[in-house]
């Protein structure tokens, strides 16, 4: 994983660069690293694995982050990574990308079809900000939550005060 800078080590949670293919896809994992060390990069790789190994569709993988800008960035990179993976598997050529090399060598079943479908359905990808996810949940299950189905998330600069 030459492309990935070293992650910080703490409490034995994860050491050095993240072994993407060894990381478990079940249970809870914590990846702790400083800014700029490649967290997003690794998420994109894990995402590709989830598509191929678990057969998940983008709508079934929740990715949450803090800001709208980060969401847009994440969506863009996830989709690009899916496309790169598809291309690599199609051409059987991964260049210097260690992750893609390993991906090809693993010879996943129906890899092309799964990736193609994930790319085509990527508009359904569940990549949200935290408030975006909550508001989506509230809208979809408005009846169960007892809220109006047309609820709006107030922007930060909107007047949130109410006279009691």
């Amino acid at each position: 994983m030459g492309a990935i800078p070293e992650s910080t080590t703490r409490g034995g949670v994860m050491s050095k660069s993240l072994p993407v293919f060894k990381a478990p896809l079940n249970g809870i994992s914590l990846v702790e690293a400083s800014a700029g060390t490649g967290k997003t990069y690794n998420i994109t790789s894990l995402y590709v694995r989830a598509v191929l190994e678990k057969g998940l569709e983008p709508s079934q993988i929740l990715v949450m982050t803090f800001t709208e800008a980060a969401t847009a960035e994440l969506k863009f990179r996830l989709r690009s990574r899916l496309k790169e993976s598809l291309q690599a598997i199609k051409d059987d050529e991964a260049g210097n990308d260690v992750f893609l090399q390993k991906l090809i060598s693993r010879d996943y079943e129906d890899a092309e079809a799964k990736l193609k479908s994930a790319i085509d359905r990527f508009d359904e990808a569940a990549v949200f900000t935290i408030h975006g996810f909550c508001s989506r949940l509230l809208t979809e299950y408005s009846l169960q939550f007892g809220v109006s189905p047309t609820l709006n998330c107030l922007q930060i600069n909107q007047n949130c005060f109410r006279i009691v």
């Binding site: 800008a69 960035e73 969506k75 989709r79 508009d123 359904e124 979809e140 007892g146 047309t150 006279i163």
Partner: protein, 1026 residues
């Protein structure tokens, strides 16, 4: 016979269509049936037929959604237009059913009947009505088999939906007068039976030839019906061919993907035809050459305004480059009329330094439509009638018309609202103090009563500025409006039956928006809609009363679902929301607002929706619909496809993605997405638009702005640095009025900008407020103090003033008001007493006329009591006041007046503050130095580097023996704006204008000026509190 005609272009199809369509042989006057998707394609097709045949008329255009009922009514013409199984009727019927039969609620697994409320139940019924409505259209056979208690799917949600559907049907059959009215699914199965019988008399009404042209969507029941007609008569089915006529493999693949739903529907259609043994024939017209993809441009902008500005330039360029194209070749598709139409109208109509582009008038819902106003009115009625909300209501176009409020009237009304302290409440017993009713009473009594100072009449203060009859008329109109609001607000407190609420709403339209007379077409349409709703709600025997809030939410929902709108052909550029013109060909098509995750839309469906759980070809899935719409739009574009979206954040400039469809399209043509996207700058006057030989913008104003900004960078503020400034030149005589001298030193920047450049700052920023103040701010306190001072001086009693202040809402209510008034009364009385004790002698005014260095200073000075000068202020003394007072003192001395001392009396919180200057302490009169400073020929920035507060702070520190650095630090605390100091001198309008980007505090002239002016004062002053 079922004839299919296919081509890659709708134009070609239309051309052949006009050749094929003909009247019936037996009856030349019969109207051929043409089934089309919507009104827009109908108009377009008529135009095309007229182009080919010279005339187009006597056709019966039918939309797929009404086709079933049209056929059904041939047999049963007594069936009314509004039916119990309509969406809205069903909503209320279900609500009644579930409100009376608790056991049905208990069957719904996810519904917690423990927390059941009418509102929640009503929401549930809305969702149920919606899915039942969809089932009737797309799954009629399922609904029919439910009636026989037969399940169709394995979905656990089917069981309870079946029970409810059966109970609902039972209920309908039990109600007199409607028991014979069919549901749509029932009508469908009857119709299929009739059509299956070749001898049924229905056939006599069906023409020999039926035409179907360019449908965007085919539901399975629709296919079943036309296939049956095709068995006996002739169906001519015109549809677009699969988009496989491109050279780019990836493009064909992508377009194929997008067109999959319609291909599946056509596939299903052929299966149905085969099943029904319908003979078929297919014709297709291929164009000779492969069709070229339209020129694609994707624009990324920061906001809607920029999207529209960029679009305007692109349209102008298109017309510029293709001189034979006309405005009618351009279509603009917008995602939502409410947010885009206003901007489009403004930007396109702008002809200041750029050509205006005529736009067809958008019909439909917008900020000024009657539906919008009614929705807002309903919301307002259940609100606390905040001042801003009511004012906003007055600005609605229909209200303005109904009550004849002009823009000027509204401005005046806003002033009145402000001055009469109307904050909220329509004027019931509660909170009448700040209510609309009280405000109106003050206006009307103000007109009818003699103006009288401190007049309080029945706890209110007549507003004395209503004098003209126009004003009186305006206040009467406002009174009428407020009265109507008040009585409507009273009514909503009670519960009513749904029908009673609709009647109430109808009355609101009459009262606030207008009758359905010929001049008021908007109100007419709204009234028809309300009448329909009333009919739909009348199908139930619902006698239970519901609350206004429940009803309001439903009604508002009804109005907002009514939002598809478009302009018309031939009145400039056609503008429309996405849907209407989806497949109509144009030379230039623009799609705005193609933002990521906004388009294609994702329907949020209840998870028990059986259609979404297991969709079949012919179902309507919103996302697929939108995707196909995009495909149709691409196919309809002949030359230029313009796509824009919000691709950069306007605050952070961070990148946003376009719609997934745009991304997919870009993937086909470009290696990386960035290549295909044109990123625009935040401003239309950015120099990128004016570089090179052929500029990218048609706006002359923006070009000038851009050039000016380039120049501006090189010659920064040369005027202020080089320009000499002498008031003598301006006045031409060597005479200076005292007030000039004083104004200059109080605020040099202001004096300079006003006298030299005639810049004046008028910003009386007033905004209606929605709540009374619980504490007085400094301006309000100053107003109260001034009133107190004036009235107490006149000998009015404090109690009279208090009564007035309280009725006029100048002080807070209750204890806080008592406290505030007492405090202010004491401090003002203290000030007044002090003032009285010094001003026992008669007041005298001295006309000054002195000559200093050949310059004549003249003007009056008031406030003289023998050898004493007294100035005062009902408020805190500031450095500027000291400047004025000090200059007067010096001028009197210079003129030879016998002045022993002078006093400046002011308030300091609740105390009185007195500044005393003794003439004996002034060792030498600095006035001539001051005048030199004023009249000198120094550069502007040198002369104006004097700021009373900051300069004084500097001078004080120096005189206290501090070093210069320390003194500058002190001065800076008065100059700079910080979170704690908002009234800093830097923030003064004129200082900000003159000194932006400079820091005068560090400069040598600032220090010199400060010491020159303040040192003599600081040495002479003597302060004592009282």
């Amino acid at each position: 016979m079922f004839n299919t005609y296919q081509s890659h272009s709708l134009q070609t199809l239309a051309y052949h269509f006009s050749g094929i369509i003909k009247p019936e042989v037996e009856d030349p006057l019969s109207k051929p049936w043409i089934i089309v998707q919507n009104n827009e394609i109908k108009e377009w097709l008529s135009l095309k037929i007229a182009e080919e045949q010279g005339i187009a008329g006597n056709y019966r255009f039918i939309f797929p959604s009404e086709f079933l009922w049209m056929l059904y009514r041939f047999q049963k013409d007594e069936i009314p237009r509004v039916l119990p199984a309509d969406l809205n009727s069903m909503h209320w019927a279900l609500f009644e059913l579930l409100s009376t039969d608790q056991s049905l609620l208990n069957q719904i697994p996810f519904y917690d009947s423990g927390s059941d409320t009418p509102k929640k139940r009503f929401q549930l019924c809305g969702q149920l009505a919606d899915i039942f409505d969809q089932y009737q259209v797309y799954r009629p056979e399922m609904m029919e088999s439910w009636l026989n208690r037969k399940f169709i799917t394995k979905d656990p949600n089917e069981r309870w939906q079946l029970s409810i559907w059966n109970e609902l049907n039972k209920k309908w059959h039990s109600i007199k007068n409607i028991e014979h009215l069919p549901s749509r699914s029932q009508a469908y199965s009857e119709l299929v039976q009739w059509l299956d019988d070749p001898n049924n008399e229905l056939w006599s009404n069906v023409p020999e030839n039926v035409y179907v042209f360019g449908l965007s969507h085919l539901s399975k029941p629709f296919m079943e019906i036309i296939s049956r007609i095709g068995k006996k008569h002739d169906i001519h089915f015109f549809s677009l061919a699969k988009a496989d006529d491109h050279s780019n493999e990836n493009l064909i693949h992508l377009l194929g993907d997008w067109g999959r739903p319609i291909q599946e529907q056509l596939q299903l259609l052929y299966e149905i035809l085969e099943k029904n043994d319908v003979p078929t024939e297919t014709f297709s017209w291929e164009t000779d050459q492969e069709s070229s993809f339209p020129a694609l441009k994707v624009h990324s902008c920061h906001n809607i305004r920029r999207e529209v500005q960029v679009l305007k330039d692109e349209i102008l360029r298109y017309l510029d480059n293709n001189s034979d194209r006309r405005l009618s070749d351009v279509l603009v598709m917008i995602p939502d009329v409410e947010t885009y139409s206003g901007m489009l109208e403004t930007v396109f109509a702008n002809d200041e330094g750029e050509p205006a582009v005529p736009v067809s008038k958008l019909s439909g819902r917008n900020y000024h439509s009657a539906e919008h106003t009614l929705s807002e009115l309903l919301e307002l009625l259940s609100s606390p009638f905040k001042a801003s909300a009511v004012i906003q209501m007055l600005h609605q176009e229909p209200i303005k018309n109904k009550f004849s409020f002009s823009d000027a009237d509204l401005e005046l009304l806003e002033d009145w609202v402000l001055e009469n302290r109307i904050y909220q409440g329509v004027g019931s017993d509660f909170n009448t103090r700040y209510s609309w009713q009280k405000g109106v009473n003050q206006l009307l009594s103000g007109f009818s009563m003699e103006p009288d100072i401190l007049n309080v009449y029945q706890e209110m203060v007549p507003y004395d500025r209503i004098s003209s009859s126009d004003d009186a008329m305006l206040s009467a109109r406002l009174a009428h409006f407020v009265h109507l609001l008040g009585s409507a607000a009273e009514e909503i407190a009670n519960q009513k039956t749904p029908v009673e609420w609709i009647v109430f709403t109808r009355r609101l339209i009459d009262d606030f928006i207008g009758d359905g007379s010929a001049q008021n077409t908007q109100a007419g349409a709204l009234l028809r809609m309300i009448d329909k709703l009333k009919e739909q709600a009348s199908f139930t025997t619902f006698s239970k009363k519901v609350s206004f809030t429940l009803m309001k939410d439903w009604l508002v929902g009804q109005f907002s679902s009514y939002d598809s709108s478009s302009g018309r052909f031939g009145q400039g550029i056609t503008v429309s929301s996405y849907i209407p013109y989806r497949s109509v060909p144009f030379g230039f098509i623009a799609m705005l607002g193609m933002n990521e995750s906004v388009f294609p839309r994702k329907a949020i469906r209840p998870e028990f929706d059986l259609i979404y759980a297991a969709p079949r070809p012919g179902d309507r899935i919103l996302k697929e619909d939108d995707t196909y719409l995009f495909l149709e739009t691409i196919q309809a574009t002949r030359e230029h496809l313009h796509i824009s979206y919000r691709g950069q954040d306007q605050h952070s400039d961070s990148i946003r993605l376009p719609s997934i469809l745009v991304q997919q399209l870009l993937d086909v043509f470009f290696e990386s997405q960035n290549e295909g996207i044109i990123r625009h700058s935040l401003h239309p006057f950015n120099k990128q638009y004016f570089d090179g030989d052929s500029p990218n913008s048609y706006s002359d104003i923006n070009r000038q702005l851009s050039e000016r900004m380039q120049e501006g960078k090189q010659e920064k503020q040369s005027f202020f640095i080089d320009q000499k400034f002498s008031p003598i030149e301006v006045n031409s005589k060597e005479q200076i009025h005292l007030s000039d001298l004083i104004s200059f030193f109080v605020n040099p920047s202001k004096y300079l900008l006003q006298s030299q450049l005639s810049l004046s700052y008028y910003n009386e920023f007033k905004e209606v407020s929605d709540r009374e103040s619980f504490k007085l701010n400094s301006l309000e306190r100053h107003k109260l103090d001034s009133l107190l001072f004036e009235m107490l001086q006149k000998g009015e009693s404090a109690d009279t003033v208090k009564r007035y202040a309280s009725a006029a809402a100048m002080i807070p209510e209750a204890l806080e008001g008592e406290k505030v008034f007492k405090r202010e009364k004491e401090s003002v009385s203290g000030l007044l007493e002090n003032l009285k004790s010094y001003t026992k002698a008669d007041e005298h005014t001295e006309e000054i006329s002195v000559e200093i260095d050949g310059i004549q200073l003249y003007g009056p000075i008031h406030g003289l009591y023998d050898d004493l000068l007294v100035s005062y202020r009902v408020g805190r003394r500031r450095a500027g006041h000291e400047v004025e007072h000090w200059l007067k003192h010096l001028l009197l001395l210079q003129s030879g007046y016998t002045l022993n001392r002078s006093l400046y009396i002011s308030k300091d919180g609740s105390d009185t503050d007195i500044l005393e200057i003794r003439s004996s302490e002034i060792l030498s009169n600095p006035l001539s130095g001051y005048v030199r400073l004023f009249t000198s020929n120094n550069p502007v920035l040198h002369k104006s580097a004097f700021f009373p507060k900051s300069s004084k702070a500097f001078a004080e520190a120096i005189l206290e023996g501090k070093d210069e650095e320390e003194a500058v630090k002190k001065a800076r605390t008065k100059w700079e704006v910080t979170p704690h100091v908002s009234f800093a001198e830097e923030a003064d309008y004129y200082n900000a204008l003159l000194w932006r980007g400079y820091n005068p505090i560090e400069s040598k002239v600032f220090k010199e000026n400060a010491l020159q002016f303040w040192e003599p004062f600081l040495k002479a002053q003597r302060e004592e509190g009282s």
